[in-house]
């Protein structure tokens, strides 16, 4: 078995083990067997489980949440890897194309201004107004940066980086202004939003995320050849037959879609998109044929276990997940940087 397949099998098994393990963890005491019984009865549909509350905890709360963590983690990490490949910049992450700040600004607008006017609890078929606004906020900012960076028919990657910085600064100012206007409760809600939480997971959000994650995996995974070529330089890649303009468009669209959806339902979860591809790159080298799929699996794993800790560390309360992804990811990252010579396989 090749190194790639071995690694993929290993990570895939880790995900498979994490799923039931995560289901058995949580504030509500119940055994793994009970969890399995409930899921079986729900899936098969014939034995109706007696204790409705127990069934609801597993089926309505825990299972959607664990699935959501895996999918959001996967889409954040693969988008991070793709953006790093596109920009040929190791520091590229969702904020570089304006997603984070654009989402933050629209979240702040909804939380602070629309609380009374539009009723932030207003729901569109079960999806909160906050989620819808955040999603579009993220996409609009990305589109704006993309437009600014466009020179004729070409998108200048350098311009995109610079436009990103400028647009981010404007959005940050907007968030600052809204922070000033916010009252105590709103400020608290906003702060927690920027730290992220998977607590709002419902089957509807799982469904939406499944679609966006599927799209990003389906369209980003086959791009490994282009990214490998792009690592040599944009012109070199073009000589090798890569349609770089099409590549840019694809990466921006599908990473913005994936990250935007994740941010809409879970708030800002930092570090996953930046750190997971890096960890893998430092251990296994920069081949995107390995990097893209392993980033997706690794991101899912990181977020899943970070969330398990978030919901069990201070039972019955909950820690914001953004704290944990940084706490998990950063030390590993530092360790790898310090030992990169020893670890480099190549």
């Amino acid at each position: 078995m090749s190194k790639r397949n071995l690694l993929l099998t290993f990570l895939f098994l880790a995900v498979l083990i994490s799923l039931p393990a995560s289901l058995a963890m949580g504030a509500f005491d119940l055994s793994f067997l009970e969890a399995a019984q409930i899921i079986w009865s729900k899936l098969s549909g014939f034995t109706d489980f007696q204790d409705q509350r127990l069934a609801a905890v597993i089926w309505q709360i825990r299972l959607p949440r664990v699935l959501l963590s895996l999918m959001v983690g996967a889409s954040l990490a693969i988008s991070g890897a793709a953006l790093q490949g596109l920009f040929r910049n190791p520091l590229a992450d969702p904020s570089i194309i304006g997603i984070s700040m654009g989402a933050a600004l629209s979240a702040a607008v909804v939380i602070v201004l629309a609380d009374g006017v539009l009723a932030a609890n207003y729901s569109m078929g079960g999806i909160s107004f906050l989620a819808v606004a955040t999603f579009f906020g993220a996409l609009i900012t990305t589109f704006l940066i993309f437009r600014i960076a466009k020179e004729g028919k070409q998108v200048n990657v350098m311009n995109m980086l610079l436009a990103g910085i400028a647009i981010n600064a404007i959005a940050a100012a907007g968030v600052g202004l809204l922070t000033f206007l916010a009252d105590n409760e709103e400020l608290r809600t906003l702060t927690f939003w920027t730290l992220g939480s998977l607590g709002g997971a419902t089957w509807l959000s799982v469904g939406v995320l499944a679609i966006s994650t599927f799209f990003s995996l389906y369209f980003l995974l086959p791009l490994f050849k282009s990214f490998n070529a792009l690592a040599l330089g944009e012109q070199e890649a073009a000589y090798m037959g890569v349609n770089t303009e099409k590549l840019k468009l694809k990466v921006i669209i599908f990473s913005a879609l994936a990250i935007g959806t994740g941010v809409a339902f879970c708030g800002m979860i930092s570090f996953v998109g930046l750190v997971v591809p890096h960890i893998i790159r430092l251990i296994f080298g920069g081949d995107y044929r390995i990097l893209l799929p392993t980033s997706a699996l690794g991101g899912g794993l990181l977020l899943c276990w970070a969330d398990n800790l978030a919901r069990t560390a201070v039972i019955p309360a909950e820690l914001p997940i953004g704290i944990l992804t940084a706490l998990f990811g950063a030390p590993v990252f530092l360790y790898l940087i310090l030992n990169r010579k020893k670890l480099q396989v190549k």
Binding site: F28, R53, G199, A317
Partner: protein, 292 residues
């Protein structure tokens, strides 16, 4: 084109799956046997109301803003703050009913709790005497404690009746402080502003709503006769002597007379069942100011 067909089929199947999920509603738990309800209360004023209605023994979980009375807050599990509450944590208390304020509530939390068959009472609190009475009535109705509610409301009216008229409306200001460098002032519509009015004073920060940081000059111009703080904040800032080190405060009448008052946060700004007492206490503080 094949690719888009795959995507299309995938999206359709997900949509169908979601739809079939949405149709299944979990029926509410049938409570045929008469058992005392297990209550989770997720706001200080609500917890206090449940306690004052004599139902404290039914409380099984509270949030971090529930700070009164000590007898129950010390022993009950704390579920966090409403902006970050974990639905599974709430359910692990096996509640029958959850009381929660509308402000800052996430819709998903309500959905998840309802899915587990828990009754969720969302209360839209208004900072006024009527608002408090409505809040008491709503909770009392759910807990079937009408008699206790009537006596609570009577107590509020009795306390308010004891509020004495002042020779002039006292100019007061509430500072929400988290250390000397970070002081916000309570404007129009805030709970403390309403209490100041009930106690016969006037809130000098009248030209904006909610809490805003106030500049030193605006503070001097507003010139309050009394400055209110949360008790904890007053202590953390080092008491009256330290407060008068802050230039803006030293220039006001309140600063000159060291007329600083610290009150418990939930007591002063909670608008719970003790709102009458709070208004009376503040009224008595006002009487010590100026030429009463």
């Amino acid at each position: 084109m094949n690719r888009f067909l795959v995507c299309f089929l995938f999206v359709i199947s997900i949509l169908l799956a979601c739809n079939s999920q949405a149709d299944k509603h979990v029926d509410e738990l049938e409570s045929t046997e008469v058992q005392p309800l297990r209550i989770v209360s997720l706001a200080g004023a609500l917890t206090e109301t449940v306690y004052s209605l004599g139902k404290a023994d039914q409380l099984v979980g509270i949030d971090i803003t529930s700070t009164y009375p000590d007898s129950i807050t010390a022993s009950l599990p704390k579920l966090g703050h409403i902006s970050s509450i974990n639905s599974e944590g709430v359910l692990s208390m096996r509640p029958d009913i959850v009381f929660v304020l509308k402000k800052g509530l996430r819709q998903e939390l309500v959905q998840q709790l309802k899915a587990a068959g828990v009754t969720v009472k969302v209360i839209d609190q208004e900072f006024s005497i009527n608002g408090t009475k409505q809040l008491i009535d709503t909770i009392a109705e759910t807990l079937q404690a009408k008699a206790a509610a009537d006596s609570l409301k009577a107590k509020i009216d009795a306390d308010l009746a004891k509020v004495e008229a002042l020779s002039s409306a006292k100019r007061a200001l509430f500072i929400y402080a988290r250390g000397a460098g970070n002081m916000s002032v309570g404007g129009k519509g805030t709970a403390v502003a309403q209490l100041i009015q009930l106690a016969g004073g006037v809130n000098v920060a009248n030209d904006f709503e909610a809490y805003k940081p106030l500049t030193a000059e605006a503070m001097v111009k507003a010139d309050p006769e009394m400055i209110l703080f949360f008790q904890s904040a007053l202590q953390s800032m080092g008491g009256p002597k330290a407060l008068n080190q802050i230039p803006a405060i030293a220039q006001t009448k309140a600063g000159a007379n060291e007329s600083f008052v610290g009150m418990d946060g939930l007591f002063m700004a909670g608008f719970g069942p003790r709102v009458g007492e709070a208004a009376l206490a503040l009224n008595q503080q006002f009487k010590t100011v100026g030429n009463e």
